[in-house]
């Protein structure tokens, strides 16, 4: 009897745990830490160079949609990184209150000893709707807004964070250029600098 009761009880506890975790936001601090931490090779791409390359990509391959991505971007592919959805007002860099928690989670992760002292690119991306240069400028403003929130409200040391906008030059899902999945903020760990 005792055994049966115990088994039943632990099953009930497990169910609660599973339901509990799926009811919460899927994102948590440790998920961000685990995706961003760890040894990696050195990559000598500066935020400035990357930003410049994005503008050059538009001049070099004009048109509604880019036929190819930014070559410099490929160098970052092997680095530890994480995609996060942050919502902004339409055509604006104002972070919506519903996304404050997500920005706070990034701060929670960056403030742990696991990630302290390492440098991160905060990269803004848009979908392919609208003008490419406009999208690029908007993504720069949005990446800066996230960086500013982290640096001021949550006091993440400013020297470790660089904001970069890639507009629609690096779609996450090139086969669906207008899809929401392309709109994201990407954190990339570029290591100790």
């Amino acid at each position: 009897m005792k055994k049966l009761l115990l088994a039943g009880l632990s099953a009930a506890v497990m169910t609660t745990a599973v339901v509990g975790s799926s009811a919460q936001t899927q994102l948590n601090r440790n998920e961000i830490i685990n995706s961003l931490q760890g040894a990696q090779q050195k990559v000598d791409v500066s935020a400035d160079a990357l930003q410049k390359a994005a503008f050059e990509n538009i001049q070099k391959y004009p048109g509604a949609n880019s036929p190819q991505g930014v070559p410099l971007w490929d160098k970052l592919a092997s680095l530890r990184q994480f995609n996060i959805e942050i919502t902004f007002d339409f055509d604006s860099a104002r972070i919506k209150p519903e996304s404050y928690e997500t920005v706070g989670l990034i701060a929670d992760a960056l403030h742990t000893p696991y990630l302290q002292g390492q440098t991160f690119f905060i990269v803004g991306h848009t979908d392919a709707k609208g003008d490419r240069e406009y999208n690029l400028e908007l993504s720069i403003r949005r990446a800066k807004a996230v960086r500013e929130a982290l640096v001021t409200t949550f006091q993440v040391p400013s020297q470790y964070l660089f904001a970069v906008g890639m507009g629609e030059e690096q779609l996450r899902e090139p086969s669906k250029p207008d899809a929401a999945i392309n709109r994201r903020v990407q954190l990339i760990n570029v290591g100790y600098r």
Binding site: I95, P97, E101, P113
Partner: protein, 138 residues
Amino acid sequence: MKRLIFALTATLLMANAPAAAQTVGFAEAIKILSASCGADIDKYCKSATLADNGIGQCLAQNEAKVSQKCNADRAVVASLIQERLAAQAAAPKICTNDARRLCKGVKEGAGHVLRCLLKAQRSVGEKCNTAIDLAGYR
């Protein structure tokens, strides 16, 4: 018997309480602002941003119009963030001796020392363990 169970529960609750009650993470803190002030922010602070205390200043300027709950909670949120920051700044100093004693040869950076201290929790001093809890590093 009933009394014993009650005492046991009370002890368990107390053992869990201090760490959980004293500081909270940045996400948890700022979530309170979204929940208590989200509607007011969207109504009165359409051009303010989360940066440079823009939201805080805007809510203060609109104090008379903002909901009572928001007015009460925005101050709470600001102090929760400050408390966590202070706890995180203090933890490495409070744990210096424990780290020296228990984590010899562990190289600094990338959380190696913290990992060592977490593993050695039973041997780590009470002050350092509490500091780790308050910093949200467990």
